[in-house]
Amino acid sequence: MKSRKSELLVGVFVALTIAAGLMLALNVANQSMSSSEDSYILYAKFDNIGGLKVRSAVKVGGVTVGRVDNITLNNSDFTPLVAMSISSEFDQFPETSSVSILTSGLLGEQYIGFQPGFAMDGVENLAEGDYIEDTKSALVLEDLIGQFLFSSNDG
C-alpha cells in the first residue's frame, strides 16, 4: 500500500509538471503561433526598416497573421529585404496589397502593417515567394524632425 501511495503522488507530481509546462508553452510563450504551423513566405523591400526585428508581428487591421522570418540586406541595391512568414490560413491576399512599417503605441515595438488591396479581375493572389511591390518605410524620428524644421524655416 505504501508504494502505491508514493506512485500516486509521483503521478500527481508529473501531472502538475505537465500542466505547468503547458501553461508556459501556451499562455506565456505563445508556442502555438510559432513556425510549427503551416505558412508561406512573402518578401518586401523597404528603404528603411527602423527597429523591425525578426519575429516582429505582421498585422492586418491589428490581427496578427504572421511574423517576420528573416531580414537581409540586398547586396546589389543595398535595400533591406524582409521575409515574412504568413499563416496559410490567410492565403487570399491580392497582389495589389501594400505593407508599411508601423509602431504600436508611442514607444512600442515596430511591426509590419499589411494592407490588403482590392481583388479585381486579373489580379492574382499572393503566393509563396512573391514580392510585395508597394511598401512604406519606417518613420525615423530624426528625419521627421529634420523635415519639420526645414518646412517651418520656409514659412
Partner: protein
C-alpha cells in the same frame, strides 16, 4: 615554504576528491540499464526528493512572483509602463529566479537529506552489508537518487515559474489593477519558447546534476561518524549553493550574453 606545501597538499586533496567523485558517478551511471529493477527505485526516490519538495517550491514560487509584481509595479508605474509587468515577472522567473531559487531550495531541502541519509547508511555499515550480499551500493543506492534528482528538479523549476507567474498575476492584476489582457499578451509576445523557457530548463538540468552529484558524493564519501555526517551535510549545502550561483553566471553568459 610552509604555505607552498600547504597549498600543494590542498590541491592534491581536492583533485583526489574530484577523482573519487568521478569514479562514483561513473560507477553509478555507466552500467547495463536494468529498467525493471531501477524504475520502482527511481519512482520511490522521486517521491522523496521531488514530491516532498513540492510544497516549499509552490509556496516560495507564489511569494516570489507576488513580491516581484509588487516591486516591479512601483517602479514601472512611474513610467506608465505597468503593462510590461507581465514580461518582467515572466522573464526573470523563467531565465533566472526559477532555476536558481529552485536549485538553492532543492539543495537545502533535498540535497542535505540525501547526504545525511547516505552518510548514515555508511556509518551504520549498510553500504558494506550490501556489498557483502553482492549488491553494488552504487547501483542500488546512489544511482536511483541521482536519477531522481536530475528528473525531478527541472519539474520543480517549471512548477515554480508557472506558480510565480500566477502569483504575479494575483498581485499585479487582481490587486494593483494592471490590465489582465496586457499582462498576458505582452508576456506572450516577449517570451520566446526556445530562448527563454528551454534555456531555463537546460539550466535546471545542469543544476540538478551538480546538486545531486555533490549531495550523493558527500554522503558516500563522508567520515562515518556523527560529526563527519554533520560536516558532510553542511558541505553539501554550501558547495552546491556556491556551484549553482557560479554556474548560473557562466550559463547565463553563454545563453543570453552573446547574441
Amino acid at each position: 615554504m610552509n604555505w607552498l606545501i600547504h597549498l600543494g597538499t590542498n590541491t592534491l586533496n581536492r583533485l583526489e576528491m574530484f577523482g573519487r567523485a568521478s569514479f562514483m558517478l561513473i560507477g553509478a551511471i555507466v552500467a547495463k540499464p536494468q529498467p525493471i529493477k531501477m524504475i520502482p527505485l527511481i519512482i520511490k526516490q522521486i517521491h522523496i526528493v521531488g514530491v516532498q519538495s513540492l510544497l516549499i517550491i509552490v509556496i516560495s514560487g507564489l511569494f516570489i512572483g507576488m513580491v516581484m509584481a509588487l516591486q516591479g509595479y512601483t517602479i514601472l508605474v512611474d513610467y506608465g509602463a505597468e503593462g510590461s509587468l507581465g514580461p518582467m515577472v515572466a522573464l526573470s522567473l523563467l531565465r533566472e529566479l526559477g532555476p536558481v531559487v529552485t536549485a538553492l531550495l532543492f539543495a537545502g531541502r533535498a540535497g542535505s537529506a540525501l547526504t545525511a541519509e547516505i552518510g548514515l547508511m555508511k556509518a551504520t555499515e549498510q553500504l558494506s552489508s550490501l556489498e557483502m550480499m553482492a549488491v553494488d551500493p552504487l547501483r542500488r543506492v546512489i544511482a536511483p537518487r541521482l536519477w531522481a534528482g536530475i528528473i525531478s528538479m527541472p519539474m520543480l523549476a517549471l512548477i515554480f515559474s508557472a506558480v510565480g507567474i500566477l502569483g504575479g498575476h494575483l498581485v499585479g492584476v487582481d490587486w494593483l489593477g494592471v490590465d489582465s489582457g496586457s499582462y498576458w499578451s505582452i508576456m506572450q509576445s516577449t517570451v520566446d519558447w526556445n530562448k527563454d523557457v528551454v534555456n531555463g530548463i537546460i539550466k535546471t538540468i545542469v543544476f540538478a546534476f551538480v546538486i545531486t552529484w555533490i549531495a550523493t558524493f558527500k554522503g558516500y564519501d563522508s567520515i562515518p561518524t556523527s560529526e563527519g555526517i554533520s560536516k558532510a551535510t553542511t558541505e553539501t549545502v554550501v558547495f552546491s549553493s556556491l556551484a549553482v550561483l557560479g554556474l548560473d553566471f557562466i550559463l547565463t553568459a553563454l545563453m543570453f550574453g552573446i547574441e
